[in-house]
Symmetry: C2
Subunit: 399 residues, 2 copies
Amino acid sequence: MTRRPDCGVGHVPGAPATLPDRAGPAHRRGVARTVTTLVRVKICVLAGGVGGARFLLGARRLLGLDTESARAGSPHRIDAVVNVGDDAWMHGVRICPDLDTCMYTLGGGIDPERGWGHAGETWNCRDELAAYGVQPDWFGLGDKDLATHLVRTQMLDAGYRLTHVTEALSTRWSPGVRLLPVTDDRCETHVVVTGGTADDGTGAGDAATPGDGPDADAPGPRAIHFQEWWVKHRAQLTPSGFVQVGADAATPTPETLEAIETADLVVVAPSNPVVSVGAILAVPGIRAALRSTPAPVVGLSPVIGGAVLRGMADTCLTAIGVETSATAVARHYGARSGTGLLDGWLVAPGDAPADGSGAVDGVAIREVPLLMTDPDATADMVAAAIDLAGLEVPARTDR
Amino acid sequence: MTRRPDCGVGHVPGAPATLPDRAGPAHRRGVARTVTTLVRVKICVLAGGVGGARFLLGARRLLGLDTESARAGSPHRIDAVVNVGDDAWMHGVRICPDLDTCMYTLGGGIDPERGWGHAGETWNCRDELAAYGVQPDWFGLGDKDLATHLVRTQMLDAGYRLTHVTEALSTRWSPGVRLLPVTDDRCETHVVVTGGTADDGTGAGDAATPGDGPDADAPGPRAIHFQEWWVKHRAQLTPSGFVQVGADAATPTPETLEAIETADLVVVAPSNPVVSVGAILAVPGIRAALRSTPAPVVGLSPVIGGAVLRGMADTCLTAIGVETSATAVARHYGARSGTGLLDGWLVAPGDAPADGSGAVDGVAIREVPLLMTDPDATADMVAAAIDLAGLEVPARTDR
């Protein structure tokens, strides 16, 4: 980060930085305040899949990093710390849905309708796997998508870290954002459920197996892989909690820690607070890194008007006892000045507490449109996060 | 095998059995001879890929094993001992071209034009792999085909033997023939070549690597994987020899040895004598099993009128100093009464020595049409092999 010398903001590295301490509450009312203009900006985004990818499109647009030629001359950088809790082994290949969704979206290869997977995808291999009757039969690997998994699996088998594998895969897609798995270790989200059937064939986390006895058709509480819950059961099994299998032995990558520690701004994308952002935070060391980085941390609410636009964040929030509201999610993340993560919080118009309070002590809150309808609208959200942090990026010349 | 008691043929198990000893030279002139009628017949076929698969279609037709219902009531059995010298790891999955060609052909899923791969195949994964720039870029995995490789690779990784993997895969295709890899071990055919480029990316058997020095563009003799020679170089690099990498540590499977030892008749399909049949024979123990089985061994010439119909057997024969003629191939295999493998040898009309001799001492020879134009024509070839062996199978009722 290069700060213009005439507008530096005092900050003690390593000490918790909170927005109110830096820019003061005045900026929330739109009056004059101290602003740090960043000539060279490093933004670190905590991101999940579809929502995270679209948010990154906006960040890239805002910083003028949409094209390779623009990137070649740009001092700016975006690091995305991406959730790997959805990752799984399927049919012998390693799938990383959130990393791939970010990579395909930023690389222009995503299916725009689904929001995940390849445009023009075919499913012939999936159909053949079904003809063989192999499990899991509920997870469809696209033919194009398989290439990514084959390359990744080979590199992992050869001993490369997922971080380096992702970098190698990104060479082809040129996402313009450094995609960083939060950890190179397995740290997979499992969902604690009751009911359904246990014969899912993944062998992952099942407490019961078919034919176990009279209860085999109505298994008791068990932890199933997130993919099984989301894809096979379409989130229809009510979760009673989430477990990150492998978290005890997982560590953040050096690249992720560096991205958080050297950022000018950390942004928590409006991704699922439980199974996307929550799974990132579950990696031991990430929470501490977010609390100690000199950069302000600003989050964007995934809840708009008491509902989520996409996915099943409401179900997940309910499962962990958090109300589906912008304020409740902010309280769940907490303030950095307390024991939490946030310095600032962007909510949709009408979602701030009516009394004008900050909702969470120590967290600056601001209402801005939060619909990621296109990269320009999303860029405005990123700009609002930068602004809320008391920072300023030189105006883009391409809008 | 159940022989009718009134027409048993004396044979000492373990001793080399030669057709002339059993049926006498008279049968070559079409006169009366001793015939053993098999009520329950076990035929063991040594087979390569496309040619071997088509030959098996004929054997299945002859024995009335074309349909599942027919097989359910049939006492007959066909075991195919299949070449695995073409097998390779590609993009992290295990490919077994000859086993798959036999399986798809007998299972009705083969592409009838190419003779290999799936009917209605697509190549989207291959194109994506190419977009990633990963090697090898000259080997196209079909999307449907990939499913077979994924299932196989997972089972191999789980510790199953290739024999059991093939059995599991065959459950879906129901080939009506027991497909037996000659060995569960890696025993891969490499081709000794000079010239071409060494930067093939397989890393398999290359003596030279790119940028090795002034000779990098014109590498010296080196052994490249059969697939590289055949698929990448389209057999245009003149081979100076063939090496079975892994042969020193490979053993035949118990199933293969049992198939050879308990057969009523062993047939060497008209497959490539060098890289198909030769690669089977290169597995230590196979040659001894063929020499000691009580069953007669009858081969079919892949050379017709001094040429091969398909593939590159002529190039392979030339490389090992064998003339491309039916007689030369018979001499290459040799007589069981000597140090070789054959009791009988079927050649195309006009390909027997003009002087009426047997071409190879101790090998009965007969001229029959050898074009595998369809399963019925091929069934006649199999019937001729059975007849040449002095055996008889009850007439089929479905023709």
